[in-house]
Symmetry: C2
Subunit: 421 residues, 2 copies
Amino acid sequence: MQIKILKGNIVHAPKFGDLSILENGYIVLEDGKIKGLFQNLPEEYKKHEIEDYTDKLILQSFCDMHLHAPQYPMLGMGMDLPLLEWLNTYTFNNEAHFADEDFARETYTKLANEMISNGTTRCCAFSSLHLKATNILMDIFEKTGMTGYVGKVNMDRNSGDVLKETTEQSKKDTITWLDETSSKYEHIKPILTPRFTPSCTNELMEFLGKLAKERNLPIQSHLSENTSEVAWVRELHPDCKQYWESYDKYGLFNDKTIMAHCVHCDQRERDAMKSRGVWVAHCPDSNVNLISGTAPVRVMMNEGIKVTLGSDIAGGDQLAMYKVICSAIKASKVKRIETNWTTDFLTVAEAYYLGTTAGAKFFGAGDGFAVGDELHAIVVDDKDFPKPVRKLSVKESFERTLYLMKTSNIVSVYSAGRKVK
Amino acid sequence: MQIKILKGNIVHAPKFGDLSILENGYIVLEDGKIKGLFQNLPEEYKKHEIEDYTDKLILQSFCDMHLHAPQYPMLGMGMDLPLLEWLNTYTFNNEAHFADEDFARETYTKLANEMISNGTTRCCAFSSLHLKATNILMDIFEKTGMTGYVGKVNMDRNSGDVLKETTEQSKKDTITWLDETSSKYEHIKPILTPRFTPSCTNELMEFLGKLAKERNLPIQSHLSENTSEVAWVRELHPDCKQYWESYDKYGLFNDKTIMAHCVHCDQRERDAMKSRGVWVAHCPDSNVNLISGTAPVRVMMNEGIKVTLGSDIAGGDQLAMYKVICSAIKASKVKRIETNWTTDFLTVAEAYYLGTTAGAKFFGAGDGFAVGDELHAIVVDDKDFPKPVRKLSVKESFERTLYLMKTSNIVSVYSAGRKVK
């Protein structure tokens, strides 16, 4: 059994809104798993070497619960275009390029390194529809130290000329992919990924629903991102009163489902999400960039819906989740303005919870740095920040760190108990 | 006469919304002043050495038209607090610390370096009320290569216990400061800075108005940032129908005046700004962080009001103006959402104009890289950005650069014709 001890200013979020802080405290790991957090190191551990991060912050690492890996090459591009033109000019052309395995390998290596460098150690990623590129992404994520889910995208209709698969091919590739990857990696697993209702025929949706049930698989997709999409789904599924029902009728809307956006979910849709235990990936940057709307995050939280955060690159322009956390705070302040100051904004502590613990729970983790969990953490050195007029409390240091940190401030990253940066 | 030639992908904004692009073109300088922009280098200049930035972007440097220099130590702090508590817990205590000249020197050196490193070469900065610290700030700005205006803050009422001056002292210090600094520096000049109406007695405002006229001085202050402030001003000046009149009646509201925020300016207030030629410093990050509201930037532009951009640190959490430019785009998209998609958002080209040319004109500069102007420019190397699926146009490179750039991507900075990074 291998003992490891980290010392530093520990700030974690076991509960929404509550920070748990240990000033220069200790995290003890046994074989990468958290044995305990201590203000004073127990006698039995004193003989072990300490990774000394005194006065540095030890924070939970981040969870990116919605990103499109093959859109990484177009990060920050086409932001002036309306959604449909953006999809046709950039998105589909970008994703089509992942038929090229060398390009996929090069791009995904850079992406994975940038995510880990920025302290994202858990994710739910959309790949493209390509079988081989999806395997490459999983392979690279595993090697880089990422954990979580990757999905081969299913899309057998309404997807332009450059990027399509037949229903038959989509089914066949999905089975091949699942057979190849379900047990191949320790930390990266497959997740079923119907792109969104307009991209999938009923036959394909039915197939995926059965597969989800048979193999007990998680599911990711998009829900109620913008009003024209919502209207489109209603046209495509006249038997469904609302968008969510187009997933629900095929068994794709349950407590293993994570839905990106949920900007325009009304009370009835939210009630369905609540009762079925569906997870939300709130993507504040994307919602603004694509002018989708302002998601009712506080309302969803109050109703007991499980909200997490996603970068949604490349609708979102920020891959670093600490930036997405700040964007979530800002989006909630915009919501407060929009609702005439009747909705509370997200505090720094609350948004930190959404970007860490809330996402980690989708993968079965406990609350904050929970005893028994493998360590997912970052260490931040803020020595190049402006010098404050007085000594800051750990909580103050933590707060400004979320706003000011850059890649270079993250000096160490731990993922599933392993030091990966 | 010294000739200097820069070669690279030149992108500048001579007009709101229009980019002027030269792919691997040339800027020729004579004694730091722009002699011309050329796609092909004229014969007469071929004997001169070229600063070769082939395939790198040569952009206009940025103008930060509203920042509080002494709030730099509290960047990113207290963002969960309501405005009044934020002011009392952080702001006034921070500014009070600038009675300490050593602290001022150290802080302002770091601030100036961070601004220049991030490509800000022109600014309108609030100092604190302290005479000596204000001189130190001007001195450091001049030495670092910054250009523009710095203001000793006037505040003789409603400013808490730790930070106050009597009316008499405020007047006396202002005269001393103006006498000492008006001709002292080549690139940094004084600007009159009544903090905002609630901070200044009528006697002080009257004094400043006279001084502005006698010495032909520029003026900076705050206008209609949030609704309770607007209501407060109405209480303090029952003779004024609107906030702007509390400046106007003392001669502090003219075409040498720049007003931060202007979030809640209605038609009548905007008409007054238009007719008097008042400039606006739009501060999108601050407006969201402090939940002030969403400024009607597109409406003001349409009406012909001169809008520029400001970081407003530390209400704003981003000092880098390329980030503020992106925040302005995002704020305009929020405005579009708020107005039910009836207001146009700011394009990347439009927001770039606001962050560069629009501000530069306050200091008398021409349109974009204008012939006869001293060069204010940055050179950006985007080699660490994600590799795109095809060769990008210069316009595409430029657009994603505004979203993705970091300090380290800025390889050179020119300010008033001098290379300062």
